[in-house]
Symmetry: C2
Subunit: 157 residues, 2 copies
């Protein structure tokens, strides 16, 4: 069982995509996060749904939660307007870690070890052609979530 056999399709957005579209993607698929790829299609970051929620909430409310209770429903309905015109790249937290990346030929145990070491709930799987001289990652094949890996490992138990 290799990483390429474990990889599943997963929604990805690019750094230039609109944050509002990323939010719709997360909302529609009920995902905890979306993979962000650069112009070359290489995994760059995970944008968590909680980060997008964070952008909706005015800073003074995060500082003083008691103010949240006094915002009325009409204003709440307009919260998502905060995302209009904002790109995915602008939404990423500065300390957003690079996503964990496995090579297509890695074994299930190598993927599990990578997940364990990085404490990441998601590993991106890339084809890594040996011919690439710059050492950069290759084509994105999909991702392996921790729950999917458990599913496959339990299926063999």
């Amino acid at each position: 069982m290799r990483a390429r056999d474990l990889a599943e399709p997963f929604p990805a957005v690019s750094l230039d995509d609109q944050a509002l579209d990323a939010a719709r993607l997360l909302a529609e698929h009920r995902l905890p996060g979306v993979l962000v790829v650069d112009d070359a299609g290489r995994p760059r970051a995970i944008l968590p749904a909680s980060q997008l929620v964070r952008l909706l909430v005015p800073g003074y409310i995060i500082e003083d939660p008691s103010l949240a209770a006094v915002i009325d429903e009409a204003h709440a309905d307009r919260l998502c307007e905060e995302l209009v015109g904002v790109s995915v790249g602008e939404c990423l937290p500065r300390d957003a870690p690079e996503p964990a990346v496995a090579a297509a030929d890695d074994t299930a145990v190598e993927v599990a070890a990578l997940m364990a070491r990085t404490r990441s709930p998601l590993v991106a799987v890339v084809e890594r052609p040996a011919a690439r001289r710059d050492g950069s990652g290759g084509e994105l094949l999909g991702v392996i979530t921790a729950s999917h890996l458990l599913h496959r490992l339990l299926g063999n138990a």
Copy 2:
């Protein structure tokens, strides 16, 4: 729109449940984590799927990833045996944060602010009867995920 209207059912396990059953629950529902409740049904922690994966991987492999490649398929199939006889309580990381908890009457903006402040992808919603003298939380009504909150907020946009 109040927290009670946003709350959805979510699988929960107790501290005494078997870790293997928690893993099966996560795998079956493809969830990134499961809510852990105490004997009184109060939210105590989130057990992430990545933490269960971490328990499957022998410590010497986490220390030295190159060893992962030499483990054969037959051994990989037995990894999940590591979870046999282990309770959920024993699996929780020592630094597992308490889950973010909202009261049933909190507004959507209060829930968003709580999620933003705690950077939590999941907020547990509890009935919090004022009559409780010990200040402890009440009955668990469900949870609100960041993607579900985005879904509801976008639905009104």
